[in-house]
Amino acid sequence: MNSLGCVRGDRRLFSGLNFSVSAGTLLQVTGPNGCGKTSLLRMICALLEPAEGTIKWQGENIRTLGEEYFTSLTFLGHRNGVKEELSAIENLRVASGLNGIDLRPKAAVKILRDMGLEGREQLPARLLSEGQRRRLALARLAVCNTTLWVLDEVLTSLDKAAVALVKSLIEKHLDNGGLAIVATHQELELNSGSFLRIELAS
């Protein structure tokens, strides 16, 4: 059973925030712009050090876990993390390779098709539209085998079909006992898993 306990406070953004998330749960973080959603998610990813408090993963501080923690974490941020010079296939394969998954080109093509990028596998990412790049970034979720997903504003610039796709990916993830932390303004209605929401005031 995975549980995430968090006691933390950031400079002026928020303080005294306490929560824990267990397996099969979706945690939605909402709040107006500039309230610290992204900061909170970056702290959960150990990219940002909390000014106060600690974040624990399976009972251990993520700061001491280090690389071990990253084996169970997938993060998608504001920026897509897509290299413009690389083709869609190369982007996906390199991203997987760096995470220790050797993705064969055929498997990569199949995943890109599922993400609605058929026929664009060989195009350099700079020729893709904003929404297509987002889809390419999201394709990483279909490859990874991690338990904790941290998604920051993933639904922006996606069309309805893609939003449905993301939702089904998250549902499947929760069904498999994973947990997801999502920052978004939109409503997320899922058919599976339990649901938690944190609203940060400005």
């Binding site: 400079r11 002026r12 928020f14 303080s15 005294g16 005031a201």
Partner: protein, 257 residues
Amino acid sequence: MPNRKINWYKYAAPANFYPLAGKLIPWFGIPAALLFVAGLYIGFFVAPTDFQQGDAYRIIFIHVPAAWMGMFLYILMALYAGVGWAFNARLASMMATALSITGAMFTFLSLATGSLWGKPTWGTWWVWDARMTSTLILLFLYIGFISLQAAIDDPRRADRAGAVLALVGLINVPIIYFSVQWWNTLHQGATIRLLNKPTMAPPMLAAMLIMLAACWLYSIAIVLMRLRCIILEREHEAGRTLTLGAKTAQFSRMESI
């Protein structure tokens, strides 16, 4: 105060240190001024004229302490920055920032006085000898540290980035000094004896030591002053308030949700 326990940790918080620093400044500043006057008096009027260099040598009473201070303060700055980074001690990081400018000033002063001394002694303003060159490189290291901190807006990042740079510099300083020495001996550059130790008359030594003490006290006083400014700036940015003027600064924390 032998029997009274003082909670030293209390003063690790910038807001508590602020009034303490204010009280300490005159205790260092005034002796520094007195020692400067005394040191310069002995150096200029009591110490005998050097039979080789005439009166021009008297600039060493400023030059030598300045050169020492430039080096010591770099080491001190790097150590403070490292402590601030490793233990997340804001006051130590602020101390490093406050030290950097004073250190750079002394390094520059030692270069300037060295060059002023060089003109009458060797007939040229600048000689690429090992000591001058190393001091010049030390000045470059200070400039790098100061400009890196100036370019970063977020004080936390500025502190930590400065610490990495200062520590990398600290590891490098011996290598740089060695390489410059090596370069200098191979090019048979001008090798200059700064001091003829056996012939140094007691008043010369006294003047030198008094000036060194004055420089130390001056550094402490000026660094504390600068530290107070930095504390004010930073704490203001962090949304905390320091009441000024009052004997004990009030420290209140804005908690917002």
